[in-house]
């Protein structure tokens, strides 16, 4: 299950990493600065990187959330939004904005663009790489912001911090609710699945492959290999030789993927509260299906889009109402490790 990769395998990964970096370098012309405020970045700042498209609903809370966590600056690529996202981001004093003009899919779902920005601005900083519908929380996040967490990680020489993406959903059909921009998303998305996650190793890059959750339960019971991947590495002390491979699920060099403990202990980790299932989700699914920009083989996911577009009710008898990070720790979805070893059970 766990084995040391051969020299050749390691060399292949090195080539792959170089290739991805080179690819990102070529794609640098696809993004144009719309509003660059990067001169405001301080050496100690924690930077947030994201690619967004039509996220005017989620962005106000998103920005607030990460500001509250002590993020110093946001570096965002807007992939041709039409809903006022650009104006919203231009107005923010701590956001630098780029416009991505090429294909989202051809740029590895925006990852090439972000790699450019990370290479240019991220080096030496702690970076958060997330989507607009992902809110990072971790044990005691309300009282210890990311500066505390990253200092702690630095002291232990840990270059990254892993998180489980947790699908949050409302009770009743997804579209039957209302959400006002800026509102706490978990007011609407009050529920989640406490069980039904499964983990396996992917020996090639040494990352964990976690799947399951509400979407897996609803849509992928008969084809589990297609179920959403839930492991992410949102927080990395960036080095310009780093690169994310498949979204932020895995990265190179492989050491970045070791966000889990293999000796029977627990490393600290967080949860990305996934706010995808806000009321606009069915409409977005319809559009995304037509654009076919989202998966490597979009056709395989047609059923998924259709199911989601029908505004399903994710709630079931065993759904659990979200209470906070302590609850997630208790359930074994989030881990304190040595960062927060108390009140664990």
């Amino acid at each position: 299950m766990h084995h040391t990769p051969t020299l050749l395998a390691r060399y292949k990964l090195r080539l792959r990493r170089k290739r991805l970096l080179w690819r990102a370098f070529r794609k640098r012309l696809e993004i144009k600065a719309v509003s660059r405020k990067t001169h405001n970045i301080h050496a100690q700042d924690i930077l947030v990187f994201a690619t967004v498209r039509n996220e005017a609903q989620r962005l106000p809370y998103f920005l607030d959330h990460y500001r509250r966590l002590g993020a110093g600056h946001f570096l965002i690529v807007d992939n041709q939004s039409e809903d006022g996202t650009e104006a919203l981001l231009r107005a923010a004093p701590d956001v630098s904005l780029w416009r991505g003009t090429g294909s989202y899919k051809a740029s590895r779902f925006g990852m090439d663009w972000l790699t450019c920005l990370q290479w240019r601005y991220g080096h030496g900083h702690w970076t958060v790489t997330v989507d607009a519908d992902e809110l990072l929380i971790y044990p005691d996040w309300e009282k210890r912001d990311l500066r505390a967490l990253t200092t702690w990680l630095d002291m232990r020489g840990l270059p990254q911090f892993g998180a489980l993406m947790l699908d949050m959903y409302p009770k009743g059909p997804v579209a039957a609710h209302a959400y006002t921009p800026g509102q706490t998303p978990t007011d609407v998305l009050q529920w989640f699945d406490a069980f039904g996650y499964w983990a396996q190793m992917q020996p090639k890059m040494g990352n964990l492959w976690l799947q399951g959750g509400a979407r897996a339960r609803m849509f992928f019971g008969d084809k589990p290999q297609l179920a959403p991947t839930l492991n992410k590495i949102p927080l990395v002390r960036w080095h310009r030789s780093y690169v994310f491979v498949n979204s932020t699920h895995n990265a190179l060099p492989p050491a970045l993927n070791r966000s889990y403990d293999t000796d029977g202990f627990e490393k600290p980790s967080g949860v990305l509260l996934h706010t995808k299932l806000l009321p606009d989700a069915p409409e977005r699914a319809r559009i995304e299906k037509l654009r076919a920009e989202h998966f490597a083989r979009p056709d395989t996911y047609n059923d998924y889009y259709d199911d989601l577009a029908a505004s399903p009710d994710f709630w079931c008898e065993s759904s659990v109402r979200y209470e906070g990070w302590q609850q997630l720790m208790r359930l074994g979805l989030m881990f304190g490790g040595d960062w927060h070893p108390f009140d664990r059970h």
């Binding site: 299950m1 766990h2 002590g70 005691d140 009282k143 210890r144 912001d145 500066r147 505390a148 200092t151 702690w152 002291m155 232990r156 892993g162 998180a163 489980l164 699945d193 406490a194 069980f195 039904g196 996650y197 499964w198 983990a199 396996q200 190793m201 964990l208 976690l210 399951g212 339960r217 019971g221 008969d222 084809k223 589990p224 290999q225 839930l230 492991n231 966000s259 889990y260 403990d261 293999t262 000796d263 029977g264 202990f265 627990e266 490393k267 600290p268 980790s269 079931c316 008898e317 065993s318 759904s319 074994g332 979805l333 881990f335 490790g337 040595d338 070893p341 108390f342 664990r344």
Partner: protein, 566 residues
């Protein structure tokens, strides 16, 4: 008479300034040492900011890299100046910029005034302290450490190895006995000045320059030479994790720190506004005469370390994916796997559920679907009964099931027709209770209405699978509690094994069994086995079944023989 504070500062100067003002406001002179690596500009700004406070001075700056001599040199210089410039100082308190006084300073002054000759310094011989991390304890004093551990780790390690190989040992000068302890002490003027003015100090200094982490041993060793009254404990509350990294206190530790009744704590997270607000403005205080009581906090931290050592068994997730044999517990709770029982007894599952109160599933690993208890299609709503989903990650399915149902004993049926991939995981799991009646898989064949040729083939296949499984269960790596009977052996006296199994499952079955499960009618089974033999397939896992039913006591005419307990 008062207390003087030596404060070592290297980051978060704003917080250091706050703390220094706090000390000074209570009449404690403060001598601040700022690390040389802080830039001139920042340093000047810091000095200027404290311009308005009398009794705050700045001592000569040294470069203080962790584990090196600089910290001791800085402490020596600063305390010497403090003693010189403030003759009214009777005790010197060594603090850092990230130390936070938890109780009103006046309480500390009173406390020390009542103990004028006492030195508070944690100081123990290397043989007595288990707290060193990284394997260097006595060797700290017998080897040389010219290379930085932080920046020149390779050279550091190589040089240690070299000295070990060459068996180079330094001798400790002047009959000193090396002692170690927390860097943060509070010494009386008498003891401290004796250390600083020792005629042999240059020898000692030369020796300690090459000791590793001398700030934890220099004063700790020398205080033993001069002090008349050592209290071997630090008045500063500081905690270390298992890696030897200091624990940082955040806002959420407010109550914990309050309850400790300690005078000073470190390290405090510089952005812990609530802590600084609470402790630095709280001048009124309760004026308690409370002894510091780090014991309360110790217990909490000890518990934390212990939990870390264990991890949560049976949880495979982000953060925790133990490699095989390092699980520290394969599953979260005890469970039972029954092989052959449901085949041999007609009502085994309901009977077992009634007798034990446990959740009794059918064949969880059956090829068609997951046979959950009571025909449910999902467990806890999220573990579905889809065989595809289960086989996608069968080992994970089992550990998930046990994790998700902790608090309720799980039992399930198993057999050679099921997915065998979990066999090793179950066998290596101390939580597993495995009971096997070998050869009982033949009973359904015997009772089926299939063609004999097919039966023969199927019997051969199942026998092979079960035999392989038995090899696993009998291997030396097996940690599960395994019981194996041949079918013939079992039906000879079934109540005894059943009682043993139930006793093991739980306290809910204290009483003797009142009711036995009903065994299927085995009339003709011996002949069935003989027929298989005649066809060249030798069924041996059942044990010896006589062909002629007349000879056996097991001849169940009517009704099937009831095994009722006396």
């Amino acid at each position: 008479m008062t207390v003087g504070v030596v404060m070592l500062v290297h980051t978060a100067l704003g917080r250091a300034e706050q703390a220094a003002r706090h000390w000074a406001a209570s009449g404690c002179p403060v001598m601040i040492h700022v690390d040389k690596s802080v830039s001139r500009k920042v340093y000047d700004g810091f000095v200027k900011a404290l311009d308005d406070v009398p009794h705050i001075n700045f001592s000569k700056r040294y470069r203080c890299e962790w584990g090196t001599w600089g910290i001791v040199a800085a402490t020596q210089t600063a305390s010497a100046r403090l003693l010189d410039e403030f003759p009214e100082v009777r005790h010197v308190y060594l603090a850092s910029g990230s130390c936070l006084p938890l109780r009103p300073v006046q309480e500390l002054i009173d406390y020390l005034a009542a103990r004028p000759r006492t030195d508070f310094i944690e100081s123990a011989t290397t043989a007595d302290v288990p707290w060193t991390v990284g394997g260097l304890d006595a060797e700290r004093f017998t080897l040389r450490f010219p290379f930085s551990w932080r920046k020149r780790r390779y050279l550091f390690d190589k040089y240690v190895q070299l000295q070990r190989k060459l068996r180079i040992k330094r001798s400790v000068p002047g009959g000193l006995v090396p002692h170690m302890g927390s860097q943060w002490w509070c010494l009386s003027r008498q003891t401290l000045s004796a250390i600083l003015h020792d005629p042999a100090r240059s020898d000692y200094d030369r020796y300690f320059r090459m000791v590793w982490i001398p700030d934890e041993s220099y004063f700790q060793t020398l205080a033993r030479q001069y002090s008349t009254n050592i209290e071997s404990r630090s008045l500063t509350l500081s905690k270390f994790d298992y890696q030897g990294k200091p624990h940082i206190f955040y806002d959420d530790h407010l109550q914990l720190l309050r309850r400790s009744d300690c005078f000073v704590a470190r390290k405090i997270w510089p952005h812990a506004h609530r802590l600084y607000d609470a402790f630095l403005t709280d001048t009124a205080g309760a004026m308690s005469k409370q002894e510091p009581n780090p014991g309360k906090i110790d217990r909490v931290f000890a518990k934390a370390v212990e939990r870390r050592v264990r991890g949560r068994a049976g949880l495979y997730m982000q953060s925790r994916f133990p490699r095989e044999d390092w699980e520290n517990g394969v599953t979260a709770a005890p469970y039972s796997m029954f092989q052959g029982f449901a085949e041999l007894f007609e009502d085994f599952e309901p009977w077992l559920a009634k007798a034990t109160g446990a959740r009794v599933h059918g064949h969880l690993f059956a090829p068609d679907r997951v046979h959950f208890a009571d025909g449910q299609t999902a467990m806890n709503g999220a573990l579905s009964d889809s065989a595809v989903l289960r086989d996608y990650n069968a080992k994970g399915f089992l550990t998930n099931l046990i994790w998700n149902t902790r608090g309720e004993r799980q039992c399930f049926q198993f057999g050679p027709t099921d997915n065998q991939i979990i066999n090793w995981r179950v066998a290596k799991d101390p939580n597993a209770q495995v009971s096997v009646i070998t050869g009982a898989w033949a009973v359904p064949l015997f009772r089926s209405n299939a063609n004999f040729i097919d039966l023969r083939q199927e019997a051969a296949r199942l026998q092979k699978i079960e035999s392989d499984h038995l090899d696993v269960l009998r291997s030396t790596w097996t940690k599960a509690r395994v019981r194996i009977w041949t079918m013939a052996e079992f039906i000879e006296a079934p109540m005894e094994p059943l009682q043993t199994i139930l006793d093991e499952i739980g306290p809910s079955t204290q009483r003797r069994l009142a009711e036995a499960p009903r065994m299927v009618d085995l009339t003709g089974f011996g002949q069935f086995l003989q027929n298989l033999k005649n066809q060249g397939m030798h069924p041996y896992l059942m044990g010896d079944f006589p062909v002629d039913p007349g000879e056996t006591a097991r001849k169940p005419r009517t009704p099937p023989r009831p095994y009722v307990v006396r």
